[in-house]
């Protein structure tokens, strides 16, 4: 059910809602920190929000290696949310 494209779209909504990031800038290859201006405290807020939405926890250790929007999408995808559509 949850293709990476769907996860990406949902993640985009979260980034806009939490940080008012320009949706046009949110591309898979965009760097969270350099291109989207997210700081380390924002990253924690993002993790919490994703946990609320998916009901599953992305380990902060995993998130440390996350650099781009695609990395976040992959991390969510890897949680195996095949039937629990996030945010729906």
């Amino acid at each position: 059910m949850d293709s990476k494209e769907e996860i990406h779209e949902r993640l985009k909504q979260v980034l806009v809602e939490l940080f008012e990031i320009d949706p046009a800038k949110i591309k898979p290859e965009a760097n969270l920190y350099q291109d989207l201006g997210i700081d380390s405290i924002d990253a924690i807020d993002l993790l919490l929000r994703l946990k609320e939405l998916t009901g599953k926890k992305i380990q902060p250790e995993t998130f440390k290696h996350v650099r781009t929007v695609a990395d976040v999408t992959d991390a969510i995808h890897a949680l195996g949310l095949s039937d629990a559509a996030i945010g729906s």
Binding site: E17, L18, F19, D39, S40, I41, D42, I44, D45, R49
Partner: protein, 282 residues
């Protein structure tokens, strides 16, 4: 243009100020070491608990910095003026300032009998100064940003005021202000009052790109203009995530300081009056 062609340049005055600046720096370094071995441990020794130690050490810091400023003004190396100082007198206030020069924190601490500040990692490793900064219970800029925000906010809520430079480092002359969101995060976490202090130094001295011996053709004059306090809670509301409130507050501060620095630069201390109504919340 050669320095000696600058209007108002006087080689005797220039040489004296260069000497005075060097002497002041030497005294600051030497005085810091000396006090770390005498006055500060003595205060620690005669204070019964951590909180008494903190208050007394912070007070001693204030007097030390006042003496340092007295030395620099007496030598004619710098001059300064402050307006709206009484606005910084409240408890649990977050004092936010722009950061044009090396001595901004010295000026602010000299004005405040009891105030916390965030101290960079290098000082906590300094063999002499690590003890006084620990006894003053200043906040170390180490570990995670999350811990820093939490401990700063806890101190603010307990009624202690805190100085923060949202730029995180000295301003780059001629560049637009660039502020990080840590100060806003602290203010929001503590629901604190923000007291904006605009600092302008003319002619510019001890700026980020200037070593101490690059002194201006005439004495550097600092103006500190304390603006109207505003509550961080103005930026929060139902359905506004804190990350977003931090962005709005930081954006407000960037706009406020960009305007106020220009106003103080152009109008001097008179800017205080005009700055207050125009620069409070939209």
């Amino acid at each position: 243009m050669m320095l000696r062609d600058t209007p108002g340049y006087n080689w005797l005055d220039y040489g004296w100020r260069l000497f005075g600046t060097g002497l002041s720096f030497a005294c600051f370094g030497l005085g810091g070491v000396l006090l770390s071995l005498t006055l500060f441990p003595l205060i620690r020794l005669v204070s019964r608990d951590r909180d008494t130690t903190r208050r007394r050490i912070q007070r001693a810091m204030q007097y030390t910095f006042r003496v340092f400023l007295w030395q620099m003004t007496t030598l004619g190396v710098i001059s300064y003026e402050v307006s709206g100082r009484e606005r910084m007198a409240g408890r649990g206030q977050l004092i936010v300032a722009n950061h044009p020069s090396l001595i901004d924190v010295v000026l602010l601490i000299a004005l405040l009998p009891e105030v916390d500040c965030i101290v960079k990692q290098a000082l906590w490793r300094n063999p002499f100064l690590r003890w006084p900064v620990a006894w003053a219970d200043y906040i170390p800029n180490s570990g995670s940003a999350e811990e820093l925000v939490a401990s700063a906010a806890a101190n603010l809520r307990s009624g202690r005021s805190l100085i923060v430079f949202p730029e995180g480092t000295r301003s780059v002359p001629g560049q637009p202000l660039n502020m990080q969101r840590g100060a806003a995060r602290i203010a929001l976490a503590a629901a604190a009052q923000l007291v904006p202090v605009t600092i302008v130094c003319q002619p510019l001295m001890l700026a980020k790109t200037q070593p101490w011996y690059h002194i201006p053709p005439s004495r550097g004059h600092w103006r500190l203009v304390v603006g109207e306090p505003l509550p961080a809670a103005q930026f929060t509301g139902a359905g506004i995530p804190e990350a977003l409130a931090a962005r709005h507050l930081t954006q407000f501060l960037v706009e406020y300081f960009s305007r106020s620095v220009t106003a103080v630069t152009q109008q001097g201390a008179n800017a205080a009056a005009s700055l207050t109504p125009n620069c409070t919340m939209p």
